[in-house]
């Protein structure tokens, strides 16, 4: 008796939700993945030690010989273990992304172009691929063949205008591969919902973050297929992990309100036309600077306390994936914290460094200590 009743229920419900979806009232699910399992929230990122703080940081990588390299404004710098910066190269524009090729040369993204061999006598510049100019070089990654993977986030908006790209529902990011001398540029994936990070290894092949689709794609030949989907945040750059697998940064966590606004064309259009992007309803690298920022009901302070589970405007999240692309554990900086907008990470030995764009900090954590906190004595 019971199963047939359920069938009737499911049919009725799906009928109602189908009718609802016609009028954008229901049905289209606004649910977002919760922080569960490997994503269980903690405060590790927020409690992490600050190595160095500067608003200019845009990317960090672990370079050759266990050196931590960072892009800060228009400079490529090495960050020492004590947080001192020493200059390696100076460019004429702000750097948007950073990578080191197999041969040790440094490649930098400069918004709408890429420079391979920055700081050397004869650098190679790339400003177009597949017959199209680069627009937003959001991330660079060394390829296994000695070349370079370039993430061109969007066709229409530069790196700083990523919020426009999201709010216009653009899906035209590209991943471009070039060889070691910067030639033979070819588009390996296009039509991505903002390409914001790439990674290549023997275990995983070529991976790319699609921020607006909350997924990581695996690129095989001409096809990109979702390898990690339904992420609870907006995936960003990768970092190699020492014993297999990789780190994935997520620059903000998702909220139902943003998903809702993305369906509300009329509201979104007027918001984009009349309001400063800093105050839009959109994910953000940092928050709390201005009372003109949007606030959601759960974020109202009660009895002097801002609840850490309030809907976030910005969030800090770094996730460790194993070689099978299964999430293992994660580090968080929750609502009310400062180390938000994690957009790059680098592992050197036992230390994982993370760049928080929201606070401008590079923070460091011991992986051993982290595992001990999360899994107890044995895991360390």
């Amino acid at each position: 008796m019971k199963p047939s009743f359920q069938v009737e229920n499911i049919m009725l419900d799906s009928l109602i939700s189908w009718i609802g979806s016609r009028g954008n009232t229901r049905g289209k699910s606004l649910s977002i993945p919760v922080f569960d399992g490997a994503f269980k929230p903690n405060n590790l990122l927020e409690e992490a030690k600050t190595l160095v703080e500067s608003t200019g940081f845009s990317d960090i990588i672990s370079g050759a010989n266990n050196r931590l390299l960072a892009a800060c404004d228009n400079r490529v710098v090495e960050v020492s273990k004590t947080g001192e910066l020493s200059e390696l190269a100076v460019l004429d524009r702000a750097i948007t992304s950073l990578a080191q090729l197999k041969d040790g040369r440094i490649a930098v993204g400069l918004g709408d172009s890429v420079l391979i061999g920055a700081g050397t006598a004869n650098p190679v510049s790339i400003d177009s691929a597949g017959g199209q100019k680069l627009t937003a070089v959001t991330a660079l990654a060394p390829a296994l063949d000695g070349g370079l993977l370039i993430c061109d986030g969007s066709k229409s908006y530069g790196c700083d205008d990523w919020a426009w790209d999201l709010m216009n529902n653009c899906k035209d990011g590209r991943v471009i591969a070039v060889d070691a001398v910067g030639g033979n540029a070819r588009v390996v994936a296009a039509g991505l919902g903002y390409a914001f990070g790439a990674y290549e290894s023997d275990e995983t092949g070529v991976l790319v973050s699609e921020s607006w689709k909350h997924q990581v794609c695996q690129i095989a030949g001409k096809n990109a297929r979702a390898a990690i989907d339904r992420l609870p945040g907006y995936p960003c750059r990768f970092a190699a992990a020492d014993d297999g697998g990789f780190w994935l940064t997520l620059f903000c966590s998702r909220t139902q309100l943003v998903e809702f606004v993305l369906k509300e064309n009329d509201y979104r259009a007027e918001m984009m036309a009349t309001i400063d992007p800093r105050f839009w309803i959109s994910p953000s690298f940092g928050s709390g600077a201005d009372f003109l920022e949007p606030l959601q009901g759960g974020g109202v302070k009660q009895m002097g306390v801002l609840k850490p589970w309030a809907p976030p405007r910005s969030y800090g999240l770094l996730v460790r994936f194993d070689a099978k692309m299964t999430p293992q554990y994660s580090m968080h900086s929750r609502v009310g914290g400062h180390n938000h907008g994690i957009c790059a990470a680098a592992q050197i030995g036992d230390t994982i460094y993370a760049l928080s764009k929201g606070s401008g900090r590079i923070v460091e954590m011991s992986i051993r200590a982290t595992r001990k906190t999360l899994f107890g004595e044995d895991a360390a």
Partner: protein, 703 residues
């Protein structure tokens, strides 16, 4: 163009009324009514003359006969039982009344009385068995159905011939059968009177409420001391009486002692009752539903008959419609509150004046500062939700909390505190009169007074109901700030009539003129609404001319002035029309100006949302409350302004460290005391160069 249309549509189309209507309990009848209307429309399209006077009259006569029985079974269903034996009682009563009239030739009154008594007796068999012996209703009435039917069959054989061969000489009897009064059939009159009485019984009289209570929850009914057994038993007696009443009219019309009288009647009436929306589980039901169900069944059967549908097909159609109606009714019953929830919030179009970009620029009036950083903290962690603060002559500090108490902090250091009075609802705006009585607006309760002897007394909790309001707006839902006038009257604001205390954020989302200002006159103890249609009115304070008050309209970010006396009595004027935040309480400052608490700041995205009612409506439907876009109430400030509407001073706590949301402040002897409804502390700030004897409360006598 489209914008204008949308604005006009949201301005004049009363969206909120749909939700309010849906909330009414009589909306439970909506589904059967819709089915009835559909049935009528369907058959009048299919059949000529379906709604002709003669046909209608005939239909109504039959409907009334059926209606008596349905009414009876409805009463039993409401109590949580079932009565299948009505068909047999009907048949037996038919024989009885015919035998009385035809064979014994008794007068009409006597015959009717005997028959009704017979019905009551038969019903009481069920009643005693089920009510007192606690037997299962279904089984018991099925048995009595069979037993009564068998008795009927035995008797019928003997009395059929005598009945058929005699005829009573009673014109009244004939009128009962086929006559009309004012061209309405007699049976309809009789049924109408009985139905009206039953309606009053169920909705207005104690026995009716008892029926509903027993049906709703038998154990609870027993626990509160209701005679459950007797009530159950009497419902079966009533069912029996009504079945025999039906039989009397049936007999008068047909005078037929047929062997199959009433056969299958129990199924028909049961389906009629269920189709009308009376639930098998008990506790729910009304006379209107019984009538609607009866009409649907009758029109359906007659309509199908007249369409010459083969009997089998007609029955299948009937069954299908019943099934659908029952399924719809269950859905409706289960989901009505969800529908109400979705429909009730109906955002309005609210265009705030454009907020200049440089409102909080370093040189502007609202330039950020950290002057509230220096605030001293009182009662940190000892008080929750001090919406308003007030001080007495001895400098003791009083504040409400969310546990429904008024807490007193003792001067001079405010380290010690006690519960001054227990009220039960959350105290909001407070003020002293000259006799040391504390007048308090209590959320969800109304206007209260704590006397100097700490007795809590109700001052008023209702005002005059407005004629055009769907919801009952006479009760005070969210009285929130008050002031005592020089002549002893009290003016207070009610923030919203559509939401409860804890739902004020939903009212913010709605942005509709749901609030009002109310006058209480202690001389004749009358409470009257003086202003309505205000958007979250708040912060009532007597102005310097003693003929007007200042008040804030929170979601409109404006301060207004209302004259209650003098030459401008009754008028309202704008004082400040474009605040950068949401104003809350207002109080007088020692220099004759006014302090204003700003509970939170406007954000452009929220302002834009206020101009997009559809956006907000969908947001309210699709997102949980914690995910809604909210006004930024994590940053508040205190403002000093004058009667010309000029901003004189602004005090900020930019990081919201101590006072993220400020709902009130009061100047007292050189200090400013600060309260916040979502806070767990009271702030105190030393003011420089002010009159250190100034006291803002306790000037006037009430009465």
């Amino acid at each position: 163009m489209i914008k204008t249309i949308s604005r006009l549509r949201y301005k004049y189309w009363p969206d909120h009324i749909f939700g309010e209507i849906l909330q009414k309990s009589w909306m439970e009848t909506a589904v059967p009514l819709a089915v009835l209307i559909f049935t009528i429309v369907f058959f009048s399209v299919q059949i000529d003359n379906f709604i002709s006077p003669s046909n209608m009259s005939d239909n109504f006569r039959q409907a009334s006969e059926l209606g008596f029985v349905v009414l009876g079974i409805s009463l039993v269903l409401i109590v949580g039982g079932i009565d299948l034996s009505v068909a047999s009682i009907f048949a037996l009563s038919n024989l009885l009344v015919l035998y009385c009239m035809h064979v014994w030739q008794l007068p009409l009154g006597a015959s009717v009385s005997i028959t009704l008594l017979g019905g009551a007796l038969l019903g009481s068999v069920n009643g005693i068995l089920i009510g007192y012996f606690r037997m299962r209703a279904f089984l018991t009435t099925m048995v009595t159905l069979i037993v009564f039917k068998s008795i009927h069959d035995l008797i019928n054989v003997r009395v059929a011939v005598p009945i058929s061969s005699n005829f009573p000489d009673s014109p009244v009897w004939d009128i009962m059968g086929y006559g009309s009064i004012l061209s309405i059939p007699t049976a309809v009159w009789a049924f109408g009177i009985v139905a009206l009485f039953s309606h009053i019984l169920l909705t207005r009289l104690r026995p009716g409420w008892w029926l509903l209570a027993v049906g709703g929850n038998r154990r609870s009914a027993y626990n509160i001391g209701l005679p459950v057994n007797r009530i159950v038993a009497l419902s079966y007696v009533a069912s029996g009486v009504l079945a025999s009443a039906s039989a009397i009219f049936y007999a008068a019309r047909l005078a037929s002692p047929g062997a199959d009288t009433g056969s299958g009647l129990e199924i028909t009436v049961l389906t009629a009752a269920i189709l009308g929306g009376i639930r098998l589980g008990g506790g729910k039901g009304s006379v209107m539903k019984a009538i609607l169900g009866t009409l649907i069944i009758l029109l359906l059967t007659n309509g199908l008959l007249r369409m010459a549908t083969p009997a089998g097909t007609a029955r299948i159609i009937l069954a299908m419609i019943l099934l659908m109606a029952a399924a719809l009714d269950i859905r409706w019953f289960k989901n009505r509150h969800k529908a109400v929830q979705e429909m009730y919030v109906s955002p309005a179009y609210l265009e705030l004046p454009h907020l200049p970009e440089d409102t909080t620029a370093p040189n502007a009036a609202f330039a950020p500062n950290d002057r509230l950083k220096a605030v001293e903290t009182i009662g940190l962690g000892m008080i929750e939700a001090p919406e308003d603060v007030v001080l007495d002559d001895y400098d003791n500090l009083y504040s409400g909390n969310r546990h429904g108490e008024i807490i007193r902090f003792f001067a001079p250091d405010y380290q010690r505190h006690e519960v001054y009075a227990r009220i039960g609802g959350q105290p909001l705006g407070m003020t002293f009169d000259a006799d040391h009585n504390l007048y308090v607006c209590v959320g969800g309760m109304g206007l209260y007074r704590v006397t100097a002897d700490r007795e809590v007394e109700l001052v008023t909790d209702e005002t005059n109901r407005s004629y055009l309001s769907v919801i009952d707006d006479s009760r005070l839902k969210l009285a929130d700030d008050l002031d005592i006038l020089p002549d002893g009257r009290i003016l207070f604001s009610e923030a919203t009539v559509r939401y409860e205390m804890h739902e004020w954020q939903t009212d913010a989302l709605e942005g509709r003129g749901n609030g009002r200002i109310i006058m209480y006159d202690p001389k004749n103890k009358k409470t009257t609404t003086v202003l309505r249609g205000l958007t979250f009115p708040n912060g009532v304070v007597l102005a310097s001319d003693k003929q007007s008050i200042m008040f804030a309209e929170s979601w409109k970010c404006s301060i207004k002035r209302y004259w209650f006396d003098g030459p401008k009595a009754g008028t309202v004027e704008m004082v400040i029309d474009n605040l950068p935040g949401y104003p809350d309480n207002i109080n007088v400052a020692s220099d004759g100006n006014y302090w204003l608490a700003i509970m939170g700041m406007r954000s452009q995205v929220f302002d834009l949302a206020m101009r997009k009612p559809g956006f907000r409506r969908r947001m309210a439907k699709q997102l949980p409350g914690d995910e809604w876009l909210a006004p930024n109430i994590n940053t508040g400030c205190i403002v000093k302004f004058n009667e010309a509407g000029e901003i004189l001073d602004v005090l900020w706590d930019m990081d919201g460290e101590n006072h993220p949301m400020i709902t009130s402040m009061r100047e007292h002897k050189g200090y400013l005391y600060i309260g916040g409804i979502s806070n767990n502390r009271i702030g105190r700030l030393k003011l420089d160069g002010v009159d250190e004897t100034f006291v803002s409360s306790g000037k006037y006598h009430v009465g």
